[in-house]
Amino acid sequence: MSGSSESEAGTFPRLLRIRREKDGATPAMREKAFGIWQTWSLDEFCDEAFFFASGLMHLGMSRGDTLVIIGDNRPRLYASMLAAQSIGGIPVPAYQDSIAKEIEYVVDHAEARFIVAENQEQVDKALEIREQCPRVEKIIYCDPKGLRKYDQDVVIDMRHIVALGRDLLQSDPDRVNIEIDKGLSSDTAVILYTSGTTGRPKGVVLSNENLLVTARNTSAFDKVTADEEVLAYLPMAWVGDNAFSFAMGLVVGFCVNCPENASTVAQDLREIGPTYYFAPPRVFENVLTSVMIRMKDAGSFKRTLFNHFMKVAKKSGARLLDGQKVSVISRLHYQIGELLIYGPIKNSLGLNRVRVAYTAGEAIGPEIFEFYRSLGVNLKQLYGQTEATVFITMQPDGAVRSESVGTPPPGVEIRIEDSGEVLYRSPGVFQKYFKNPEATAETKTSDRWVRTGDAGYFDDEGHLRIIDRAKDVGKLNDDSMFAPKFLENKLKFYPEIQEAVTFGDGRDFVTAFINIDLDAVANWAERNNVAYASYQELAANPKVYDLIQDCVEKVNRSISKDAYLATSQIRRFLVLHKELDPDDGELTRTRKVRRRIVNERYSDLIEALFDGRQRCFVSTEVMFEDGRQGKIEANLEIRDVDVGSLEARAVA
């Protein structure tokens, strides 16, 4: 047997076998079922995995075969990943909310012969695609509810396979062990299909070593111990869950908790009180909104108390978290707030035990980020992707910023190309895209550097800032970088601004189209006695222009301090007379700006922004909701904006 200590175990099954020797009785997983948190000890978890492995061998699964796994986070499904790995198979978790067509692509591309499906819903999808995927031999389910009448030759109960595997192991105790011993650290541990925004999903191949080394490095970075509590509620097909719940859980030995179902996550979170927590920005945003709404409904005493202590938190909370100097009085004041407000809020959100929380995936609004930090929740950002086994940069404790994404953890190197594109090299770099050498060659250089497709730069503190997709980044005529999405996001953080489009590539300066947010601006208009009859009239109101100008100037001030982007301050802007609309092709259905179409439709306005005119007439064809075509005409005002001094820190 090779590798008898945990750090030498080159594969997950081997690691599990070693860990079982010494902590067999410790809880490995918990699952809420029938109202109770049911614990799986490491022994039980290993049994389930190895028995199932033995059963899979009996079904004819051999080395290199893939096992597609579809379902919510369940101990049995995690065990089935290990079962596949134990006998040299490759688990391929698929997104549980995919439609049958998407599953079909994964099953077909991965050439899977076996599918593990959590319940009837997933079994139905698997059966639906059988005709297109004739390779599929067996569909194995965990939850028998509603499946009594299915064809039991194809659709089989996982418990039967596990029992069968156990019986086979009794007569031949080493049949799984022999297979585990054959495993190499370079063997594929998992294939994860990335939900590509363009084209077909790509299967990212990660080896045992990728996941093991990454898990060890990042655990060390955040001093993660076996005492952590983690809630596994993000899709198993997502690389983050594989890294946080699966790999780190097994490497460090903490207990992973699976919620009852997708709709009980908030309650389960409160019951578990995780210490190590991950959520995309959207989740933090929704939680903040619900807190704010509940506070608005609260009595005036509570509300006053809340508002007062939130101001205190804003002043000293984040500083305390970063270990900066705070006066004794402020400290005391904050402690009272912790007792009365922050503690109870964190408790009701299930965040009171959080030691480290991460968010990633997209930009998080600075005020949302700071809200949590001021409450004393150690929320940090990381930047990563599937191809890197998640981690490219992480924010170290004590150096957390809302606008940057931190520094590379141990073992990760980062390089920035002239075009601004970020490249990295790390032990987590993926092996290849499954059956797609062209895409692999495009993304991964021969010396293992990987292109992220994102543009960014290191700021003065040495923290990485991601500003945009590399292909959208352009250059101003003075050769400085122009990142439209970065500017637009900054503008959109103001509630008055619904949408923004900035122009500057190949120009002397930067200009912007602004769409007002009707709800927010109408509310403001009501409070300020501004009368209007239509969206168009409100948008053209000079007072609204003043309001927007204020936002634009604030954005300018914030980027004027930035060495790389100071030249991108917005000189001129106009407020569009109509909302950009997917029906008119100006936005995608997911509400992303289609720059090419906007450029074509409004070329006159764009020219006016750059040639110094103060007004410009525009006539736009629009499609009404009932399908009729119509025309909207307007004579739009164009505003000049103050630009903060370009603090002469010329860009190299």
Partner: protein
Amino acid sequence: MTTHSRNETLLEVESISLSFGGVHALSDVSFDIRKGEVRSIIGPNGAGKSSMLNVINGFYHPQEGSITYQGKRRAQMKPHEAALGGIARTFQNIALFRGMSTLDNIMTGRNTKMSKGLFWQALHFGPAKREEIENREFVEHVIDFLEIQTIRKTPVGRLPYGLQKRVELGRALAAEPTLLLLDEPMAGMNLEEKEDMSRFILETNEEFGTTIALIEHDMGVVMDISDRVVVLDYGRKIAEGTPEEVRANQNVIDAYLGVSHD
């Protein structure tokens, strides 16, 4: 559709007549319910459908006729006999304890299964505690079956209508009924809620073999999930048979569409 070939009769009502003063709610109605089937009672408003259910579970006492349940013939059912005999029901207008949680409401359905007296239950100790744990476990299976884990601890009064209906079904299921009476289980529901409810009704019937008698107005639902249908109009039985037979019956068409009297 289920095809239970066991033709054993579970319940038979013979020549039931029920009147309130001069109002004849039911006149000479006879039909049977077989073990394991889904039996629907349909009819226009005021046809006597709910009265019929109330007669079956002993809430109303008919003036004439007899009820034979599980081989025992009687002139009228008593409510507690019905409950102990395994008849559970839901109500047209939802009759839940609005201030109590979903879990507690469903626990009340286990009432007939709990034998320990008030004294033991108040002490919540020893055998009473064990008994509560066993029953709680059963209730949790019902919650899992109906997929209402999210609202386990929510007071029922705060739930939307469709979910309240589901909780009420849960309470009826908690009694492990032999015969389940459902009074308009889909009334006021949207399409998705109706589909869910139909699925639960069929699964209850198939997985646990529970016999189901239901009143329903949505003809699509009735035709889809029933094995046999009985049609009432003005307190009389006007037709009976499989959904196809009933659909083609002229009396039924007249009752629903009206008929000219010249």
